[in-house]
Symmetry: D2
Subunit: 227 residues, 4 copies
């Protein structure tokens, strides 16, 4: 038996060339899914509506929304930083959900999976704007998840951190003694989570076997947050 | 000994005529604090900066930010709703924090307490926009809390729900059978939390005895969320 | 690709005829695992040591420990009840772990999965003894998980509730109006989690794709606990 | 107004000469409480029953149960260690609760506060037995708390760690570079929580102002666990 059989499933991955996009497309395709990999901007409602319309049938929406996390002290986080982070990571989310839900409601089937961040679950210095945006995402998913569950639509989130990816942890960063120290003290796993481990878990959450999860937040961060 | 002695403390309460504002002003004043009760709008950075400047010395900022929670299905939550809720509850928060932190940093002392919501900790139907905004607040507090702790500035949050207040639970609502049913099933306390219980806890968190809390979220909701 | 490929894996399931035992054996075998289904008592260290020795190579230990949950008020929970529940659900766990770890440590590979309960994550009336025992299990798993992670041994737990099983939810219980009321108010999923959904998730956690999880507790309860 | 007025309250503190006992007795007395400081053993039901009977009227029971935490690897944690830790920290708890509840139920008033540990909320190496015992305590408190809330009896817990106390953090330990490193990496507060901060919070939870908390677990650990 193949538990993670996504044969015939049409999965839309947003920002498919950023954050977890590439590895998600790869792993989900290996599991048999038909991937619609969007790399367009998500900054206007019109673009989002046309994306969903153009895509047609969507079994699973993977809301992979990302922007490099600003590294600024609280007092230095400008309005511009805040606006930019929320414009890219927060505002598109309800627009995507509103656009994709009607077809799922009609079919009484569908899934939305947010690739979120554990930075909303544990405080980090110099990450206030980013954490706030990620916190909005997770709370939104919890709420929509509870609302949609009776219609057999599952809305859940991965809250990741310390997952291998070229943006945050390029080889030169991984070679730094400070990085090794951080892993030693903060990551019980003793290493980064691999991109494929993260994407595999996402793939599992796309299956019908995972129909029982409701607005749930799954930390994937090597033990950086306990639960 | 009086553990909750706020004698001589200058506490700024925002939206002092809304949400938990009135009871906070009452209880904090009873504990000896000098209350600066602001009832002005918080929609522009200029207004916020001038408020902080005009107020002068602030020992504790109580970020009491509220707007009636929209009661809309996910698919009906418009961009306007989203913008309005975030403009009132989310965007003002970092502006307030940025404006008030410099004097606290200089004194190596100060507290910020957010009157937040447990709706960010447990999914609720028809509350997606509101929950998202509340989630942004809580994650922001966690992050700022960790960043500011070494400077002896405590940033924490109450995450409340099912607290007596005239906006959400007027007597006519409390008289409804549906309300009684909800209390029975969802609130282990068996009643609403009283406004004074909530404000008293806030008062405790304003004391120096509470200097040990770091970006912590305290549910005050009669057991509606377990932790 | 088959993400949940357990071909060649030797998995020991304890109390294989109770709680989640039967469905676990079924689903894990479907995924290719070689199941060692133990139905013997676990009340003495000798029996546990001989079980592990007799079993030989164990890739995954599924600690499926169960006893019908006593339904008693706090003041009526006797010492006998406490002792019986802890003897069956708590004391065997470290004995199993101690017996199975050496071979896993030697191979620098192995997994232990506890089939735990969400009753340790959210308070329930008349379940104090049972909840306490389940709480001991989960905290133990968190601790062992962190300790074993550097050795490539993954120790995690499912914290389930409201999962279909003949002991707690036989058809006659499911037919009761009180049960329907409870589902409506307490279970956002709107139904019980199916036994196969629960076992499928357990199967996923047995794969190498799940090597990134460290002492993590996964609620599987239809949204009964938020996180 | 004095929010933490315990004048006339009779508070029983167990193991009053160990763990948080001394500072609790000191701070609670300063708040006006009449302290009954027990230093007797709690290893038999008879001793516990006679303690409660001898004490008479008890407004608040502070279940301060402690034993030095064994520092042993998972595979080295013997049955004897397990039994000793559970005998001292777990088994006495329901016995104390059963003995003290009847008078509280009759008066429809009373409080039980457990001085628990955050080691049950976040995994620690070489602390498996201790964490398990602490996990049993917390889950028990959650359950009893929900059961007793409708009778106006509040049962809650502090889950502490990294609180100043002579047993775990004597001056010579605090002077070690390894300790400083740990504080830097693991404790956002940047220092130990002081014993009086911890006891003051406990005092607050003993007041009628805290009647709204139900089976709640309050981390007091300088941010070592996020929530």
């Amino acid at each position: 038996m193949n538990l993670v059989n996504l044969q015939g499933k049409r999965i839309l991955v947003t920002q498919a060339d950023a954050f977890m996009g590439p590895v998600l497309c790869e792993v989900l395709a290996e599991c048999g899914a038909k991937i619609i990999a969007d790399t367009g901007p998500l900054l206007t409602p019109e673009r989002i509506e046309s994306l969903i319309q153009k895509t047609g049938h969507i079994d699973v929406l993977i809301a992979n929304l990302a922007i490099p996390a600003p590294n600024t002290q609280a007092v230095e986080a400008t309005d511009d930083e805040w606006e930019s982070v929320f414009d890219h990571m927060v505002t598109p989310l309800p627009r995507l959900v509103r656009a994709v839900l009607p077809q799922m409601v009609e079919r009484r089937a569908g899934k939305i999976l947010l690739m979120g961040s554990a930075s909303a679950l544990r405080g980090m210095k110099r990450r206030s704007t980013y954490s706030a945006a990620r916190g909005a995402q997770l709370a939104y998913v919890q709420s929509i998840g509870v609302e949609m569950a009776p219609l057999n639509i599952q809305v859940n989130a991965i809250a990741q951190n310390l997952v291998e990816n070229p943006t945050y942890f390029p080889p030169e960063v991984q070679a730094l003694p400070a990085f090794q120290e951080r892993i030693k003290w903060e990551v019980p796993l003793g290493r980064l989570v691999s991109a494929r481990e993260d994407a595999s878990f996402a793939a599992y959450l796309c299956t019908t076997a995972a129909n029982c999860f409701v607005g749930q937040i799954f930390p994937v961060c090597g033990g950086w947050v306990p639960r």
